[in-house]
Amino acid sequence: MELDPKTMRTTKPGLKPVILTLIVPFSFILGFPLLWKSVEIYRSPLPFRGIEAFSSQLDSEPVHFRCQFQAMFLGFNFTASNDVAEAIINKMSLLNPNSSQCGNCGAYEVSVVIDSGSSCMRTENSKAQCPFKCGEEVAFFGGKLSDEDVDELLRGCLGNVDGGGNVYSVVVVNGGDKEAEVRAVVGKYRHAWILGRVLEEEALSRVAEIFAKVFMNGRSEGDSIRAEFMPVGADGRIVLSFSLLNAEPRDWIYDWNFREIDEILLQPVIQSLQPIANITVESQVLYHTQKSPFSYWDEVLGSHISSTKDLPFFVNSNEWHLDTSVAAGGRSKMLQLVVYIPSAKECPLRLELPNGDLSNTNGFISPMWGGVVVWNPQSCKKDLESKDSVKHMISTQDIQKFSGILMGQLRQLLGLKSDNLYVGQSGTYVLQGSEKGFTQWELDVLSRNHVCFNLYSCAATLGSLSRLVQSLPRMIITDEIGKKVMISLEAAKFAQSNASAGIYDASASSSRQARSLAEDSFFHPSIMSISYYSYWHSFIIYTPYFLLVMKPVIFPVLSEWKRYKQENMKFVAWKAKAK
């Protein structure tokens, strides 16, 4: 029988060719995950859930600070200490309706001690002694001591009360001369005192006002924290740049002993502000720095007058090259504190306020920029005899005068007031000044405000960063960024826990660290969206290559499979025929 090789075959077709051609696509499929993994970009794992949780937690419950207040009354006949405490709390909530907002003491407790000489009462949460020794001492020494001495006396005495830390106290002593005025003084630390003949109701109002308006709010009138009074840079630093400007060196040249100013005046201030910002100081003396001419001569007052509406144009930035710092980093905040010495043509130069009075400080600030003080030389007459310009040193008395003004300006730039008297609803209060520039309770207020600001800023920055990172799936995220974000979240949690515990300065420094790390990671130079293309882009780039390469891989398989099928049909046909 003849076999037609085209239609029949006697042996079963082999599968070897098919298997051989299958090996190549099979190895492709095998190696594909390896290929995919090798082009994967490195993205350090960012804690997106953690960031989201942090932001939502800050939104739902604002940061709570723990504050404790204690009021001590000497020489009063209140009936029940708990009623007194409640009355004070009620008055405080009336004075401060937004107490649950960030920066205020969220939940505060008031303890009361009432020592009426014969008996002594106190609320359960009070840790003070009863009878109240401090009050007796104050009453005894009373008006004979100066404010500073009373302050120190109370500090020594109240410091022994348990707490020591952040307990705000007011000591009210009823007694003294009938004619003497009631004197209310807030000390440098965390206590205040009221001496004089005070009625009960007035005493309660005054105490509530000191607690709510002075200790909690720091005398600010507004509700929310203004961002223009937070001049701390993104890296947690402030650079104070002091400049002495000689407008016309041909008239006179002044120099100052800045090292002395730095050591005596500035170093204590810088140390006390340490939790809030890392402050560095630099100084320079500039010459030929005329200001833009806007003053007129007033015969009556005998001086050149510049009114406050010309103040925005006072700083002549074309001639005043103030920003010459080489040490300040790109993200530090610089505050310019300028002492301007006018030329003989404009000497003496005074500032006129809108109400017509002359300014007694001759200074002004611009928020987030700095401050200027105009200092007029002793005699405005040019020394015509000497041909060369004589260099004068500014005397120490003058330095003392304008350093007080500069300190006031620094306080204004941080959102506090520069004066020492507070006029409240229930009366006036004298506020003691501190040689460190800021009293303890003012530092507490600043710390609280900065903690709030820093934490909210940190949450917003981390939120922006996580949205940005998720919207660019092919962007490389280095380990450095991941690490900074983690540490920032940790620091923020630490700040919040410290705030609830009442440790303000540790809370402020960790919140500052949290914010600066969040800013560092957001502003990392490698996050440039223009460098990272989308999946579509890479798909379009690679498709032509892979399509071409696939052709010699897939087609042989198909053709071999077709051949096998044909041969198999031939075999089947032969078998059928053979049967």
Partner: protein
């Protein structure tokens, strides 16, 4: 294959989780201090002036930018708040008949390159990347302060760009392009980080208004010299210098500002209405849907002039007058900050350790390498390899695994073909 399936499953789960997180993140967390721009005080003005063209025949773009620089300085913005980017040097160009002088009018009355020009980015430093870095603030650490846009929440920024442009792009240096979506993205990031309170974008190129078509951030006002499909033309040719010296849009803008001084109160709407399409030979189109205020109420000095919010200092801080200067040094009280720095440093090291524990995955692979394979049988071998491939990123291991995998394949195929 099992591992393939597992891998795909893991991938899909990751994608789903990311999607959920992304959707969750869309809701903006409201800041405590109000993020709306009405609440913050307007404290300073910044100007970013960009000329993107090089070569001598693009003299007019340089003159445009320098004219605006001069205007803005005259109205009060200081050099430290101006970022000037010039892509080429016309003043000292070899073809400039008037060395060190740049004019914007054929009457040569005004030398724009006068006494006090401070160029921050010059020549080849003017790139799209540097421009976006200036806007977003993402510089390398060594970049000096004068090259950074140090604006804050209270800043109004004027962004002026001129050069050659087209539909949704602006050409930089004749070699790359800034796309409108890149600009919109940069502005969005600036707004999120609070780098401006209000932004005015002025573009003088062909089809200028397409460049800001993708903007979405609030507080942005934009005006372009021409609409889509229109060209922007130069104003006149200076036959002495040999090239056109100014563009029409900028020429009429300057004409408006030459009439002003720092005290003037002209509003933005008067500026925008002063452009006459017949004189410009194109339609100056502005976009105000993202800007909340009424243009009649906004003075031009809000963007073009200097502003300085001033507060008078009422009194000196009195306790410091008791300080003894020049005499015996007062004992300084170190204060209570001792504990915080200690706590901080301790905490820092704790954080580091915790962090290391959190992210360092257990390093199970053996550095000794290939001998491991010999010791295991195939099933364990496979899962071991896969386990390491999925967790470990080392390139060496890919090469190692890949090569080793090819070997049995090679053997198998050779055997088959024999």
């Amino acid at each position: 294959m099992e591992f393939c399936f597992l891998r795909i499953l893991k991938l899909t789960m990751k994608v789903l989780v990311m999607l959920l997180l992304f959707l969750g993140n869309i809701k903006n967390s409201t800041a405590y201090f109000s993020s709306s721009s009405e609440a913050t005080m307007h404290t300073n003005n910044w100007a970013v002036l960009v000329c993107t063209s090089r070569f001598w025949f693009n003299y007019r773009h340089m003159a445009n930018t320098l004219s605006l620089y001069r205007t803005v300085k005259r109205l009060g913005i200081p050099d430290e708040r101006i970022i000037l980017m010039l892509a080429d040097d016309m003043a000292c160009n070899a073809r400039n008949k008037y060395p060190a002088q740049v004019f914007n009018n054929e009457n040569h009355r005004l030398n724009l390159y006068g006494d006090n020009v401070e160029v921050d980015y010059r020549g080849y430093e003017v790139t799209v990347e540097n421009f976006l870095r200036v806007l977003t603030g993402r510089h390398e650490t060594a970049v000096p302060r004068s090259k950074r846009l140090l604006s804050d929440e209270g800043s109004h920024i004027l962004l002026y760009m001129t050069g050659h442009g087209g539909d949704e792009f602006l050409k930089f240096q004749d070699s790359e392009e800034l796309q409108s979506h890149d600009l919109a993205d940069a502005v969005k990031q600036m707004k999120e980080k609070g780098r401006f309170k209000e932004l005015l974008i002025m573009v003088d190129t062909c089809q200028a208004s397409t460049l800001f078509s993708q903007l979405q951030s609030p507080g942005v006002l934009a005006i372009g010299s021409s609409m889509k499909g229109e060209n922007s033309y130069s104003h006149h040719l200076d036959s002495d210098v040999g090239v056109s010296v100014v563009d029409r849009f900028t020429f009429y803008t300057l004409a408006f500002f030459e009439r002003l001084n720092i005290y003037d109160n002209a509003s933005l709407s008067s500026l925008f209405n002063s452009y006459n399409p017949n004189l410009l030979m194109s339609t100056a189109y502005y976009r105000r849907d993202l800007y909340q205020r009424h243009l009649e109420e906004v003075p031009v000095t809000n963007f073009f002039g200097s502003v300085m919010e001033t507060i008078h200092t009422d009194s000196a801080y009195t306790s410091l007058t008791n300080k003894n200067f020049g005499g015996a040094k007062t004992k300084t009280f170190l204060g209570q900050s001792f504990s915080s720095s200690d706590i901080n440093s301790v905490r820092n090291s704790d954080d580091e350790d915790q962090f290391n524990n959190l992210t360092a995955e257990e390093d199970q692979h053996d550095e000794a390498g290939q001998c491991i394979f010999c010791a295991m049988d195939s099933g364990h071998l496979w899962s071991f390899i896969l386990g390491n491939v999925i967790t470990h990123e080392s390139v060496d291991f890919f090469v190692c695994y890949g090569l080793v995998l090819m070997l049995p394949l090679l053997v198998f195929s050779t055997w088959l073909s024999l």
